[in-house]
């Protein structure tokens, strides 16, 4: 038979007090609607400040004026003209830079020779602001679309290569050893272990490269383009059409948000196991 522990004894007449809870805070959870409410509030204040004449509409047009400008751009067809030019440059540039960056990143992550050569070059070239290379690229490639696309591709390439080889480096070595212990061939290890293991870092890199591409397309279009959101924003600024200028900025912001959503969706689909 098991021995029972003696019954607990306590001085019942002595007053008790609760242990103070000390574990609050440091768990920031965002509320579902908080951000939208704050945004609506800022827009409302901004609108009120403009409508009452508190802020000069030339320097800061009201949200309703910006919305009108976007609407007019849309119905005139100019929005699509500028947007499609920018999207084409970003799409082609990002794709080229990403394909090359993933290939080089994997090579650096997997090969000793590629690592020793590649990291030296990437370390030397990554810090260069890629927009500074645009004049040189215009000299090399002419004044068409090519130098703008090449600028975007270069900016995307370095960030992608870095995030890919960092992702490959971060794949737990024990998983690779496990695969080797089962005589799994190199190509299968890359496909089934290293690629999915590096994917979180690669997708995080895509978020960065999408911003880089957006930044570079606007900069490149400001330097030398007839069409494109960057060119449109610059022209509007030169003509003091601040409602048009801010309409361009809003379009860029919406584009950035849309890209972020797409990458978020990809992460949910591809990294559901996390």
């Amino acid at each position: 038979m098991l021995d029972r522990a003696p019954a607990e004894t306590s001085a019942k007449d002595e007053a008790t007090r609760r242990v103070r809870f000390r574990g609050a805070g440091f768990v920031p959870a965002s509320s579902r609607y908080g951000g939208w409410i704050a945004l609506a509030l800022v827009i409302a204040i901004w609108q009120a400040a403009g409508s009452t004449g508190l802020v000069n509409a030339l320097f800061l047009p009201t949200p309703s004026a910006i919305a009108r400008a976007i609407y007019q751009l849309a119905i005139s067809g100019a929005l699509w003209q500028h947007l499609s030019a920018s999207l084409l440059r970003i799409g082609v540039g990002w794709l080229l830079g990403t394909v090359a960056g993933v290939a080089v990143g994997f090579a650096i992550g997997l090969s000793r020779l590629a690592r020793s050569v590649g990291i030296t070059f990437i370390s030397a070239l990554f810090p260069i602001p890629k927009i500074a290379l645009l004049p040189l690229l215009i000299l090399w490639l002419g004044i068409g679309e090519e130098p703008k696309i090449a600028t975007i591709a270069l900016g995307v390439f370095f960030s992608t290569a870095i995030s890919v080889y960092s992702g490959v480096d971060a794949v737990p070595r024990n998983l690779i050893r496990m695969a080797q212990s089962f005589n799994v061939p190199f190509a299968t290890i890359v496909r089934k272990v290293i690629w999915p293991g590096a994917l979180p870092a690669i997708l995080a890199g895509f978020r960065i490269t999408a911003s880089v591409a957006l930044l570079l397309v606007v900069s490149a279009e400001m330097i030398g383009a007839q069409y494109g959101i960057g060119a449109f924003v610059l022209q509007a600024g030169n003509l003091m059409q601040t409602d048009q200028l801010l309409a361009g900025v809003v379009i860029l912001s919406v584009f950035g948000l849309a890209v972020g959503k797409v990458i978020g969706w990809l992460e949910t689909r591809l990294l559901h196991w996390r």
């Binding site: 024990n174 496990m178 212990s181 089962f182 089934k192």
Partner: protein
């Protein structure tokens, strides 16, 4: 098929880890390797399994593996080494993907391995949804799927709580009962070694040398009986007396490292 450690010596740079270690694991035999922390037990296992090149000496095989063995030397890892993005079924199937097997044959091997480890109902589960013990069962299931001749187990229970350890130990005893599969079992737990092994290789402090090879004088089936407990305890005490002082020195060394 026998696995032979043939005068294995290993150094990591200036650090001598193993010094002239030789022993043979016979077909169907379970050999435990014990010794103080840092004596090179896991290094020795990696060398035996071909995952690490020894500085000198070599791991060797004698005799042919069973005809149906897809990976004669198969590891069970301390940290389970499961692919977190793959389900239990996909993890168990992973080492079979490159084998020359039809989908039906692969499926049959996976089903059998899952059944033997009690994982049939968890085949679509992801590792993060499983407890530590269940994760290690997946690791064991994956190892069984390739029909190994010798399991190389690197402290397979050390990351688990004591109750789960006990349950998995019973599983190991059951899996190794028919003598069709041998094992090298690296552990710092002398009770596990005494419960499971036919022979226990006791290594000295770094650089690890063989201090003694102790034969466990009873069958694995008999070790579960009450009468065997005292004998096993005496055996553990005997081994502990061999390594106690060195284990104390090794622990101090680790603390000062």
């Amino acid at each position: 098929m026998d696995l032979i450690a043939n005068h294995i010596t290993h150094r990591f740079g200036d650090l001598a880890v193993l010094d002239d270690v030789s022993f043979t694991v016979g077909a169907g035999e379970v050999v435990a390797i014990v010794g103080p922390s840092g004596c090179g037990k896991s290094t020795l296992l990696s060398i035996l399994g071909g995952l690490l090149q020894p500085t000198s000496g070599a791991p060797e095989l004698r005799g042919a593996p069973p005809a149906d063995s897809l990976n004669p030397l198969t590891f069970v890892f301390q940290d389970f080494a499961l692919l977190p993005w793959a389900t239990v079924e996909e993890n168990v199937e992973f080492p079979l993907l490159h084998a020359q097997l039809s989908a039906a044959e692969r499926r049959a091997l996976v089903d059998d391995a899952l059944r033997r480890t009690g994982l049939t109902d968890f085949r679509q589960t992801y590792p993060k949804q499983l407890s530590g013990g269940m994760r290690q069962r997946v690791g064991i299931s994956r190892a069984l799927a390739v029909k190994p001749a010798i399991l190389l187990m690197d402290e397979p229970l050390s990351a688990l709580d004591s109750q789960t350890r006990e349950l998995l130990m019973e599983d190991f005893v059951r899996l190794l009962a028919d003598g069709g599969m041998g094992a090298v079992y690296v552990t710092h737990n002398l009770e596990e070694a005494a419960r499971l092994a036919d022979r226990i290789v006791v290594l000295s402090r770094r650089p690890g040398r063989i201090r003694e090879v102790v034969t466990v004088p009873m069958t694995r089936a008999a070790r579960g009986e009450a009468a065997a407990r005292e004998k096993l305890l005496a055996l553990q005490n005997q081994i502990w007396s061999l390594i106690r002082n060195e284990a104390i020195d090794a622990e101090r060394e680790v603390q000062h490292a």
